[in-house]
Symmetry: C2
Subunit: 340 residues, 2 copies
Amino acid sequence: VRLGFPQARRVIREALVHEGVTPEAAELQAHWLVEAELRGHASHGIQRLPVLLERTRRRLIDPAATPRLDWISDSAIVVEGNRALGPWVGVQAVDALSERAPETGVAVAAVRNANHLGLLSLYVERAAEAGLIGVALTTSEALVHPWGGSEALVGTNPIAVGVPASPHPFVVDMATSEISMGKVLAHRHHQTPLDPRWAVDSRGRPTTDPSAVAALSPFGGAKGYGLALAFELLVATLSATALGTRVTGTLDVEHPATKGDLFVCFAPARFGESDATRAAVDDYLEELRRSPAVDASTPVAVPGDRARARREAALREGINLPHELVAELRGALQASEIVP
Amino acid sequence: VRLGFPQARRVIREALVHEGVTPEAAELQAHWLVEAELRGHASHGIQRLPVLLERTRRRLIDPAATPRLDWISDSAIVVEGNRALGPWVGVQAVDALSERAPETGVAVAAVRNANHLGLLSLYVERAAEAGLIGVALTTSEALVHPWGGSEALVGTNPIAVGVPASPHPFVVDMATSEISMGKVLAHRHHQTPLDPRWAVDSRGRPTTDPSAVAALSPFGGAKGYGLALAFELLVATLSATALGTRVTGTLDVEHPATKGDLFVCFAPARFGESDATRAAVDDYLEELRRSPAVDASTPVAVPGDRARARREAALREGINLPHELVAELRGALQASEIVP
């Protein structure tokens, strides 16, 4: 089913408003879901809407909440999310940091009790477009095994980094697991085998059977595990949020969101960044893009390039949604008395 | 050749002092090399001494220099290394941040014109022992190919993160390449094949031949490349240092060190960390260690555990140095009129 970009956005916004979400928060959440869809990250796209609506009905999301931002110093904020929607909290945090960092050089926000942030790249892209380097981290449900272990004890803990550059900011956004649980489910659905590096069975052995998956593998082996764990500790320690299997509420409709989020903004200008430094970044990224590719049909990419290309194509062509999702949405939206 | 720990330290210190290095800087540099050796990271150990001595003779390292620390705000320092030894600069930066972060919550130092930092883990461990979360990043010579490319254009850009924990701080320290160039050289020396995931030849094809290596592979494929590049841009932008192939001076004896370093310290206490949060970290790390291992003979480890175990063994048993290295050192030390 093909949906136009403005139509998708309107439907999501209205469905959220119908559940009592304030128009500003609903607008941001709709933007986040549609942007994920446009950029080819369906796992963070419109398929998340039924869960968000159900969480709102159950007041695991407080539709009218506004976050509280407490500056604990000139360069650090503790954010109490008050169970508001993730983007509504995250954008306020990033905007507060973006205003402050040009003075202080660096500013940090540690966030608790916010719902799922959605696509991380949008927060750091926002910072980068304001001339800042943005870093975003969030913890998530324990789906990943420690290296050498078999139990799912570590989050898929993604990181996003945005750096100002021309003509486009540099934006990397990645989970620290090899793949998402959504991808395992898709393989199960289509009965296609997994790459054995992606996941393990209940005894910790690499498996190609999507039905036998007990835990996802960290990306890059022991190193990825180390990094995922460092991010988990960094975020949980600063935001006083849950660790490991105690993290809930980003995928389910039963538990409050106990994960934490961390945003850091650095202001290169405050560190004395010159025109030459800025030009050197642009030249370097271009040097990478033009460097010899192993496969001539796939030029070397800079993170963010492919998502941007997908977005441009999707803006022209519309968004393709699977029939099952549309049926599910129709159910949710009819319950909301809004039928698209 | 087996060397005792205090003996190794004394020899290094005296060799550096003989070249005009101030006793304090020489003491730190000796500590850094010996600790790397003790922890099993020979690539950052005593084998680096001949290069450091030669760089000092050529004044690529200024043996008498002290770094200049300029606070550009309450929470950020720009550090001009003045070509001093890396640990002598890095420790002053980290100590300044450790003093400030408990007030400001976060503090950052961007460093330029310092020589090779050596083992990164020691800086963040130092921060963690002071109750802070420490993050250290440094750029390095372009030895890594972009994902899908064949030319060495990205540094091995390591990251280290230290988090306070009991009984030991959590410390992860890792390059963003699959392996080090030192490991390729060791395989070449012993005529043993490489894992094809580790490196590529001049056409970008995975190679098992250590003599055919044109570039190291980023760890974890496209994700590791994205992260390595994010670190390169983050460090270079804030410290106004070189990018890609313009990075020199950590391995050679010909060029000034044009790389940059970045240290960030966060103070959990300032963010309201409680005894419960601290205990939760300790419990979580213990839960990981006790979780079922795939191979019963190799328990699940928390980053830092194995380096600590190696260090304890090496303190008891002494350090083993290859004959070639001892001969090379003897040459260097005789040139310094210090024969061990």
